[in-house]
Every structure is written in C-alpha cells, then in structure tokens.
C-alpha cells in the first residue's frame, strides 16, 4: 500500500481541505491505485539526467520596473465574499 487513510487525512490538513470519513476512505483507495501506477517511473534510468521544469526555457525575462495599467482597490475587492473599509475581511486571526 502506497498511502493510508491516515496519510490522506494528514495531507488534507496541509492542503486546507476538510473531508468527511467516506470521502477520505474513497480517495485513499483511488490515490493508492494512482501512486502504485506512478511507481513505474522508478524503471526509467535517470542517472545524470537534469530535471525539466519548462520545455521552452527562457532566461532573464526582465522588463523595466515601471508603473503600467493596473486594477484599482475597488476592482481588486469586487469579487471578495466579505470586505470592509477597502480591505478583505477574514475571521479573527489573533486572540
């Protein structure tokens, strides 16, 4: 077994997901099957092979650091589920 229900539960905490027991059970089985398949990668000889993160690599995509068209505060807040006084509103963070 590649991944247990307990490990899926631990990962959901890292991933900020809150799943019920039935979903955890189901996902653990499905993800275990997928990870077992992915194990296939160990058959590939990658000694001295550098990793690829982007297939078309550009270096130093620099531009001038100047003010251009941008969205203003009201627009930035336009889709916020809750807002107050020009800010995003979140539940109380410090006690």
């Amino acid at each position: 077994m590649k991944i247990t229900k307990q490990e899926v539960l631990d990962v959901t905490k890292l991933a900020r997901l809150n799943l019920d027991d039935a979903s955890l059970e189901k996902f653990a089985g499905q993800i275990d099957t997928i990870l077992a398949y992915v194990e296939k990668l160990s058959q590939a000889d990658t000694k001295d092979v550098p990793p690829t993160s982007h297939a078309i690599s550009l270096t130093n995509a620099f531009r001038e650091d100047s003010v251009k068209e941008h969205i203003d505060r009201d627009k930035a807040l336009a889709n916020a589920p809750e807002k107050e006084d020009g800010s995003f509103l979140v539940p109380k963070v410090v006690g």
Binding site: V11, Y37, V49, I56, A76, P81
Partner: protein, 486 residues
C-alpha cells in the same frame, strides 16, 4: 444553407461582400443555441445582449471598410479564460459567481480582431478531466451520440463547434484538452507551442503545460484563429518573442518536401481500438500519396508519459489552486469563525472530487520526504521525453498518431475509475511535457458513427507545417464536412 453552418472563412467572405450581416449571422447562432443546446449543454453562459450589440457595431465597421480577421464572427470561449464583465466559472462551484475585472490577453486580441463573443462554454472543473463529466455545473453531451461524452476538458468548446453553436471556439490544452475533445466531436483543434499564445488571464491549472488554442470546423479556420491569438505578451513572462507567420498563406503549399514520422510506440498500446488504428493508418496512406515521405521513428519513453504527467500536473495544480481561500474571490463558508476552518470548509465545499483528488496527490508528492521520489523523478523523466522528440525531429517534420485509443465513451462509464480515465490520455500528454505543437483533425468514423481524430505533432514553433499537412489531407479526405444530425 443555414447561416450557423458557415465556417469562419465562408462567413468572412459573405460578410465582406455584404451578402449577409453580422446581426443575421449572430442571430442565427443565438437561435440555434436556444433551439439545440438543451440537448447538448455546451454553454454555461450565453451573452446574447452584448453579442447582438457587438454585431451591430461590427456591421458598421464592415460598411466603413474597417475589416479585421474576425469582424462580425461569433466565437465561444472556454469558461476558464477571463472575460471582463462576464462570469468565468472554470465550471467550479468555487467560482460560480466570479466576474473578472479584466480581459485575458487572448480576449483583447479577439475583440481587436472584431470577434463577437456569444458565450462561455462548459469544461471539466479547472480543466481537470477528459470527459467534461467533472464539470461542477452541468453535463455536456457529444453531438454525435447524446449518451456519450464530448471529451474534455474543452468539451463545451468542441461540442459547440461540432453542433454549429458558434463559428469557432477557444479552448485550453494541458494534457490533450483541445485535441481529445476535437477528436471525439469530429472537429479541428490545435494546441500551439508552449509560449506561442499568452496565458495572461487563463485561469492556471498546470502552468508549465497549459496553452490556449483554437477549435474550429476546418483547418483554414484554425489557421485564422491561431494567427489572431498568437504572439508575445509582456504580461506573460513565458510567452516567447517569436514572429507569428501568416499560417493561412502556407496552407496551399504541397507536401512534396515533408517527411512524416510514424512512432511505433503509439500504435502498440493494449486497448488501442482496431477501428481507430485503421482510420489513422488510412490517413497516413493518403498523406503519403500526396507526396509526403513516411519513415519510422521511435519515442522510447512514451510508456512513462502518463506517470510523469500525473505527478507534474497535480503538483503544479496543488500550488496554483492554493489561491482559492474564500478571501479574495470565490465561494466562502461564512458559518466558520476560525480562519483555518473557513479555508478548509470553503475549499471542501467548493471543489469537486477530481480537483480534490489532484490537490491531494500534488500536495503529497511535493511534501517533505516524497519530493525526490515523485516530483524530481518525474521532472527527470520529462527530460527523457523531451529528448525523444528532439531526436525524432532530426529525421522528420511531422509525427502522426491517433489522438485517443478509442472513440468517445459513454457518460458515466469511467467516472469511478480515475486511473482508467488517465490512461486514455497516453497519446496527447507528451506534447505538453515537451512543449511542442499538436493538432487533431477528423480522419474517419467508427462503425457506430463516432468521429476519429488524427494527431499531428511538430517541432517547437512550427505550427505551419501541421496546418499545411492537415489542410492537404482535409481537402482529399473531406471528413470535416460531415456534421451531426441534431
């Protein structure tokens, strides 16, 4: 002929000769949507009012002689491309009411070219899937067989083109999401080279793989739409400052100097339907008879593509989708008064099962102790796949293969078996991993009347040769002229 059946090229000609107006054309498409989309379910949002206003404007521009490539032509947009003022849901409950405050670069380019936007179309949630069944909002059906999937994730785009619900569409392709639905719906689709089209305003799934591209009724329209959306954009640091050729002008050249590579690894997999194999083989024979030279090539690491992709894409997704936190935009569980609980509850309620599955896989594979075994290893095998293509393209210009192992499957058939669904992506994933352009063009029908697609792969930034090869084939084969009976 009904106006909604027109291709982009045909509509352009009739509009320019003033034999039809954009208002008539747009009205015809909107009426067709009202009439037929109940059966298909391609559209999530129809922008009727603004489409008619745009059409009126387009008619004025045409009468003033201000004509661009798409002036007055109705187009649909996959619902993960930001459209200012029109909701952009990614087919997810978490973004069901999200209205972008800016346009994606491709939208600016479409508007500048005079396109009429008729609506936003369905997809697998956040583009994760191959059937559009993962949409959190509605089911989309294949116009050729209503009990079957249209493919995915750009299923709404492909279905809307196939069913004459628009003249052309924009989709996005992270592992086959343009080519596979195009194949299943009997239309033309192109995933351009990574960096050819700006991703600014495309809601991110897997940033090193995502690319926007056209889905159209034929190859000429694909060339027109691709030219319109291509080019460097300062807002996307991965877009590439390469010149954009006149794709349409290259179509008419013949195939005398073209060498076609046939990769044996793409014809071997277990589960490759003999009808698909035969249709692709006869397409290869036609292309050879048109003057192209065919040789065997090898892509020896193909067997690892699915495993590489289903590590890298979920890793990138788990990072990209961290932004949906119920604070800046999207769904929020307002019952929770603890910040972390609010995050967890909002995300659990907002994301559907496939998205959650991939976030969990990606978070797991990137977590301490597993990174080297999964993400790093997959990135190294990705290099081997990139090198396979480099080597193969030393001896050929275009690689031909099937797009999918089978024609469209039935709705519900694979939904409980994610791995089976992933394995069906075997022919399309490698192009995204290698960043090369890939196309699907219709090459026949199964005995049940389901469309089959031919995949063409090319060198970086050589979309022209794919278009030229498929155009020459299309003129002889003619499968693109067949439309579903709705």
């Amino acid at each position: 002929m009904n106006l909604y059946e027109l291709t982009i090229k045909e509509a352009r000609s009739l509009l320019d000769k003033k034999e039809i107006s954009s208002k008539e054309l747009t009205r015809s498409i909107l009426d067709r949507i009202a009439d037929v989309d109940k059966k298909i379910g391609a559209y999530l949002t129809v922008t009727e009012e603004s489409a008619m206003a745009q059409a009126e404007l387009a008619d004025k521009e045409i009468s003033n002689g201000n004509i661009s490539s798409l002036t007055g032509i109705p187009i649909s947009i996959k619902d993960l491309i930001c459209t200012k003022g029109f909701r952009t849901t990614c087919a997810s409950k978490i973004l069901e009411d999200f209205v972008p405050v800016y346009d994606a670069t491709v939208m600016k380019k479409l508007y500048k070219a005079g396109a009429i936007i008729v609506g936003k179309v369905n997809m697998d949630e956040f583009a994760m899937g191959s059937s559009t069944e993962n949409s959190g909002l509605q089911i989309t059906r294949n116009p050729w067989a209503l009990d079957r999937i249209p493919g995915g994730s750009s299923g709404g785009s492909a279905a809307s083109v196939s069913a004459d619900l628009c003249a052309g569409s924009l989709g996005s392709d992270t592992g086959g999401s343009i080519r596979q639905p195009a194949s299943h719906c009997g239309v033309v689709g192109m995933k351009p080279t990574y960096g050819r089209v700006s991703r600014f305003g495309l809601v991110a799934f897997a940033s090193s793989l995502d690319q926007i591209g056209p889905i159209t009724k034929n190859v000429t329209d694909c060339a027109i739409l691709l030219k319109t959306i291509s080019g460097y954009d300062r807002n996307d640091s991965t877009s590439v400052p390469e010149d954009v050729p006149d794709y349409e002008a290259a179509l008419e050249q013949g195939l005398d100097n073209v060498t076609i590579g046939i990769p044996k690894e793409y014809f071997e997999p277990e589960g490759l339907d003999p009808e698909v194999s035969e249709a692709v083989q006869s397409a290869i024979n036609v292309i050879e008879s048109l003057g192209a030279k065919c040789i065997d090539v090898s892509l020896p690491h193909t067997e690892f593509a699915v495993a590489v992709y289903y590590v890298i894409a979920p890793c990138e997704a788990s990072s990209n989708l961290a932004r949906y936190d119920g604070v800046k935009y999207g769904f929020r569980d307002k019952e929770k008064d603890d910040l972390i609980e609010m995050y967890r509850s909002s995300r659990a309620a907002g994301f559907g099962p496939e998205v959650q599955r991939r976030i969990i896989i990606g978070t797991y594979a990137l977590s301490a102790g597993y990174y080297d075994a999964y993400y790093r290893k997959a990135s190294q095998v990705r290099t081997l796949i990139v090198d396979d293509f480099k080597k193969a393209f030393e001896s050929c210009d275009v690689i031909l293969s099937p797009v999918t192992p089978t024609p469209a499957f039935k709705i519900g058939e694979n939904i409980e078996d994610p791995l089976a669904m992933y394995l069906a992506d075997v022919f399309t994933l490698s192009a995204n991993l290698a960043g090369i352009p890939g196309m699907s063009v219709p090459c026949g029908f199964s005995s049940k009347g389901l469309p089959i697609g031919l995949q063409l792969l090319g060198k970086h930034f050589n979309e022209s040769i794919l278009l030229r090869t498929s155009y020459n084939y299309e003129q002889v084969a003619g499968f693109h002229k067949k439309r579903p009976n709705l």
